[in-house]
Amino acid sequence: MKKTLILSAVAALIAGAAHAEGELNIYNWGNYTNPDLIKKFEEAYDVKVTITDYDSNTTALTKVEAGGHGFDIVVPSNGYVKIFIDKGLLLETRPDQMENFKNMDPTWVNVGWDMGRHYTVPWQWGSTGVAVNTSTYSGDINTSAIFLDPPAELAGKINVVPEMADVMAMAIYYVGGTDSCTEDKEILKKARDVLVAAKPSWLSMDYGTTDKLSSGEWVASVNWNGSTFRARLANPTVQYGYPVEGYPLWMDSVAVLADAKNVENAKLFQNFIMDPENAAMISAFARYSNGIMGSDAFMPADMKTAPEINPPAELAAAGKFAEACPKAVQDIHTAIWTELQK
C-alpha cells in the first residue's frame, strides 16, 4: 500500500514536471501587472501564468540569489539589472534578436545596465519628482527646494517617501553633485546638512502618496510621476514638478532568470510585451511610460497629454538614471539616512 502511494506521488511529480510546459512564473513588483495583459498572454499561448509580488529590489535579489524560488521572470530596476547580470542570475535571451524588437524605442536600446539589450526588455519607466497641491502653493514647483528648502506655505505639511536612494540622489543633485553615487565628501556633507535642516519642515516619511495627496492631507510630497498622475485625476490641483537641479529616472526591465524552468514561455513573454498594443496595456494599468514605439496609439486618451508622462523639453535633460551605489558609498548614505530618522 505504502509503495503504491510513493509510486503515485512520484508519478504525480513527473506529470507535474511535464505539465510545466504550459506555465510561466513571473516575479514582479506589487500592483504593477495588468491582469488583462496576463489574460491575453495566457489565451494567446495557452500558458498558465502565476504572478508573485515583491516590494523592493533587494528583496527580489536576495530571494533569487537564494535559489529554489521557481520563478522564470524578474523585473528589476535599472541599477539592479547590472547586479543581476554580474552575479550570473540572468539568462542571455537576446531580446535584440526577437521579432518585436523593431518596436523598441532606440533611446532604450543602448542603456548602461544592458548595452544592446541582450538580456532585458523595458517594462515601465518613470521619474521621482515632487508633487505639490497648487491650491496651497502657486510658486515654481520644478525644484527640489519644495522639500529641501520649503516655502512657508508648505512647511509642516510635506511628505518625503522613505526611498533612500531617490531622496539621497535628489539631495545630492540639489547641492550641486552630478553623480548620485559620488564619493565627494564635500558634496555628501552638504547633502546631509540640507536634509537635516529640512527635516523639521516635513510632516512624515511615508508611502501611500496617491491617496493622501489627493485628499489634501499632504500638500507636497516627493513622489513618482505615475502616482502623481493618479492623484491629479482625483484632485486636479495636484501637480507634478520636475526638479531642475536633477531628479532620478528609473526603468524596470523584464529579464529571464538563469535557472528558469519555462525559458521558452519567458522568451515568448519578452517578445509579447514589445508589441505596441500589449505595451500600452502595461502603461494603462500603472500609468507609467513603457519604451515601446507606437504604443501611444493604444493608450487611454488622458495619457497622451499628461504632463506627468511627458516632461517639458527643458526639464527632461535634468533626469538621470541612478546606479546602485558601491558598498562604501551606500554605508555613508545609510548613516545619513539613520541620522535623518533618529
Partner: protein, 299 residues
C-alpha cells in the same frame, strides 16, 4: 513495579512533548543561531553576508566613525532610536495599565454569566490582522478622518487636529492594539480576589485609597506584572504601528533593523541590533521573574 511505571510515564511525557520540543529547537533556536552567526560576519556587497569573521557590526551598534572626519564617537543616532523605543514602550505599558485596570475590574465584578460575554468582546480585535487594525486607527485619527470630522461637526475645534505622524499617534495605536494583553491577566488576578477582604477592610475603617493600595493592588500585582510584560515585549519590537501611524519620520528599533536588512544592505548590523533587542527583552523578563518570585514568597 512502581518505578518502572514512573519511568514509563516519564518516557511517555518526553514522547508526547517531542513534537513541540523539535519545533522549538528548529523554529526558535535554529533561526536565532543564524542571526547570532550573521552578527559576526561581513556584509555582502548588495545583500547577504560574506563569511569573514569580524566584530565590526558590534562596534557599529554603539560607536560611529564620523563619515566626514573619521573621528570615532558614540552612535547617538542609534542610542536615541533605542531610547525612543524603550520610552514609548514604557508609556504604552503605563497607558494600557491605566485603561486596563478599570476594564478588568468591571469585567471581574460582573455576574458570572455575563463575564464570558465581556471577555469575548475583549478578544474580538484579535480576529483581525494587526495591519488592518492599525489602518483602522489611521482612518479615525487622520487629518480628514472620523475624529476630526466629528469634532469639527460639533464645533469643538476650528481646524482639524494633526495627530497622525506624531508620537501621540504611535501611543494611541500601540495602546489600542496591546490593551487586551493587559486586561486579560489583570482580569484573571482580580477574579481571584475575595471580595470579603474589601468588605472587611471597610469595616475596619480603611479609606478607599488604602483599600486600593493595601488590598487590591498587592493581590492583583502578579496580573499587573504579567500584563506589563505582555505589553512591553511586543511594544519594543513594534514595526507596523510606528511605520503606519508614526509616519516613519522617527524610527523605532524594529524599523531600524528593517533598514539594515533592506535599503541599508548591512545584515550583520541588523543581526547585532536584533540581538541587542533580545537582550533588552531578556532583562525585562528577568526583572519579571525576580519580582514575581518575591511576591510569591511574600504571600
Amino acid at each position: 513495579m512502581s518505578t518502572s511505571l514512573e519511568k514509563q510515564r516519564a518516557r511517555d511525557g518526553w514522547l508526547l512533548s517531542a513534537p513541540a520540543l523539535v519545533l522549538l529547537v528548529f523554529a526558535a533556536a535554529g533561526p536565532l543561531l543564524i542571526v547570532a552567526t550573521y552578527a559576526f560576519l561581513t556584509p555582502g556587497d548588495y545583500s547577504g553576508v560574506v563569511w569573514d569573521f569580524t566584530l565590526k557590526a558590534w562596534f557599529q551598534v554603539l560607536f560611529e566613525r564620523d563619515i566626514f572626519d573619521d573621528s570615532i564617537s558614540m552612535a547617538d543616532a542609534h542610542l536615541s532610536i533605542f531610547w525612543r523605543s524603550i520610552r514609548l514602550s514604557l508609556l504604552t505599558t503605563i497607558l494600557t495599565f491605566l485603561f486596563g485596570l478599570p476594564t478588568a475590574w468591571f469585567i471581574a465584578t460582573r455576574p458570572a454569566k455575563q463575564r464570558a460575554a465581556w471577555l469575548f468582546l475583549i478578544t474580538i480585535p484579535f480576529w483581525t490582522n494587526l495591519l488592518i487594525r492599525t489602518f483602522a486607527i489611521m482612518e479615525v485619527i487622520r487629518y480628514d478622518g472620523l475624529l476630526n470630522k466629528a469634532l469639527l461637526g460639533i464645533g469643538l475645534i476650528e481646524t482639524p487636529l494633526r495627530i497622525m505622524y506624531t508620537d501621540t499617534a504611535v501611543l494611541i495605536g500601540m495602546t489600542y492594539v496591546y490593551l487586551p494583553l493587559m486586561v486579560l491577566p489583570m482580569f484573571a488576578a482580580i477574579d481571584r480576589l475575595d471580595i470579603r477582604l474589601i468588605e472587611a477592610s471597610y469595616d475596619l475603617y480603611a479609606t478607599r485609597l488604602k483599600v486600593l493600595t493595601k488590598i487590591i493592588l498587592p493581590i492583583v500585582r502578579p496580573g499587573i506584572i504579567a500584563g506589563s510584560i505582555l505589553v512591553f515585549v511586543p511594544s519594543i519590537g513594534a514595526y507596523v504601528t510606528p511605520r503606519v501611524l508614526g509616519g516613519g519620520k522617527k524610527m523605532m528599533v524594529g524599523n531600524f533593523i528593517e533598514l539594515q536588512f533592506g535599503a541599508g544592505r548591512n545584515w550583520p548590523l541588523g543581526a547585532a541590533l536584533s540581538l541587542i533587542l533580545l537582550l533588552i527583552v531578556s532583562v525585562a523578563l528577568i526583572f519579571y521573574v525576580r519580582v514575581s518570585t518575591r511576591s510569591d514568597s511574600d504571600g
